[in-house]
Amino acid sequence: MAIYYSEEHEWVRVEGDTATVGITKHAADQLGDIVFVEVNEAGEEFDKGDEIGTIESVKAASEIYAPVAGEILEVNGTLEDAPASLNEDPEGGAWLCKIKVSESAELDELMDADAYKAFIADA
């Protein structure tokens, strides 16, 4: 199992060819109080960088961009009724979706935990 991070502040936990995607604690803190989450439906295929959903805080809407190409296998349905859980547990129970990775080479373009830590420290 490996965890990767994107410059869009998403984490990607890979097991086999399935990846669980969420937003980082840093991103959740930056967004502030999250009040609405919407992820595209299971079955949808997308390329890296495509919009696959939206997170809205009280302040503003932020798009969720696909960290790698693939297909949505499952959306975390609990977020619909409890969007605030994204503030409380963004790197645990409040994952956004599971995807089937179609281009595993794209994972190598993402950061590891240390690189991401340095990335947000520089931001």
């Binding site: 109080d33 009280v58 302040k59």
Partner: protein, 366 residues
């Protein structure tokens, strides 16, 4: 080219309190503090919240006939203001469009005017260009301004300044608060009871610390200010109202007294009088999305046939309502509360309805 944002007298306190600073209308302002917008919003609805509004312009107009002269620039009833009374009105242009909205107070010997931060320089230039030369106009750049808002505001402020309790909504006095000479006005822009307090800039931090020392008061930033005013159905300049909107289209006819409707004598009076007689072609309305998705500014409003009939001018999540709320301009035929409409949010038409404003009952002490 962007200039460095300006700082209010409270800037250092915002930083000390952990405020997240953003550039707003050319000013470095706190959008929220560590408690977060939801908590700050709730604090204002249930206890009291302190906002820095020092970025707004404070202006004194002195001289014989100042009230009559101001009436030539705004549709509000300014000559009818008794000493100690304040009134909400708008600067209008020749087309009836709104240049800014403002509060004018009769301070006894002079008019005390508070204008929006973003329009401040233009408003002052407008007044200097259009008010008679014998009037003196002074921009108070050495003053701070805070808004203490919420149901506990009276108890908090009266403990430091007993006179504050005797004010009714839209009344103003000069009084000391803990020995600091202030102008206290019972008004604000959250829908809650509360006060705006103007004080010398070099005492703004002292006074704010005293107010924040009260266990019922927490600091609140621009984020909560925006969600509070939206729920209260209050217009935000540059969004719900602008030079493209008349006071009638914006539902602000209540701010134009009968005498002024009849007599006119303000810029755009012909347009505004015609709209009062015939009704405007479009109106600012409340809009309640049915689902949980907030509709932000710029979202297209559709009728049930899918035709575009308007646009959202302010929208987001209403913490007290517990769901999304919005305001927007729609064709007059669709302005009736309860009408079913649709909102084009992220390319998807979603159900919504026209709603009565305000979303949260205003709680002023009249």
């Amino acid at each position: 080219m962007t200039e460095n944002p300006k700082r209010t007298p409270l800037y250092d306190l915002h930083v000390e309190l952990g405020g997240k600073i953003v550039d707003f209308a050319g000013w470095s302002m706190p959008v929220q503090y560590p408690a977060g917008i939801l908590k700050e919003h709730e604090q204002c609805r249930t206890q009291a919240a302190l906002f820095d509004v020092s970025h707004m312009g404070q202006v004194i107009i002195e001289g014989e006939g100042a009230a009559e002269a101001m009436e030539a620039l705004v549709p509000g009833n300014i000559t009818g203001l008794k000493p100690g009374q304040a009134r909400y009105t708008q600067f209008t242009n020749a087309e009836g469009g709104i240049l800014d909205d403002l509060i004018v107070s009769n301070a006894g010997d002079y008019l005390f005017v508070v204008v929006n931060a973003g329009c401040r320089d233009a408003d002052i230039a407008h007044m200097r260009a259009n008010l008679p030369g014998h009037l003196t106009l002074t921009e108070l750049t050495d003053r701070g301004l805070v808004a203490l808002q919420g149901p506990a505001s009276e108890a908090v402020l009266a403990s430091l300044c007993p006179e504050a309790a005797s004010l009714s909504f839209m009344e103003t006095i000069e009084a000391d608060v803990s020995g600091i000479p202030c102008r206290i006005s019972r008004l604000g822009y959250t829908g809650e009871d509360g006060y705006e307090i103007s004080m010398p800039a070099d005492r703004a931090i002292d006074l704010s610390r005293i107010l924040l020392g009260h266990d019922k008061v927490l600091p609140a930033g621009l984020g909560a200010r925006d969600s509070l005013r939206l729920e209260a159905g209050l217009c935000l300049y540059g969004h719900d109202i602008s030079t493209e909107t008349t006071p009638i289209e914006a539902g602000l006819q209540w701010s134009i007294a009968k005498r002024r409707r009849e007599e006119g004598g303000f810029p755009g009076a012909d347009v505004i009088q015609a709209q009062l007689a015939d009704g405007p072609a479009r109106k600012l309305v409340g809009i309640k999305p049915d689902g949980p998705a907030p509709a932000r500014e710029g979202t297209e409003v559709l009728n049930m046939d899918g035709d575009v009939i308007g646009i959202i001018t302010s929208g987001g999540f209403g913490p007290t309502v517990g769901g999304p709320v919005a305001m927007g301009h729609v064709e007059a035929a669709y302005a009736q509360p309860g009408m079913d409409i649709q909102l084009l949010i992220r390319k998807k038409a979603r159900a919504a309805s026209v709603a009565k404003l305000p979303f949260v009952e205003q709680n002023y002490k009249r």
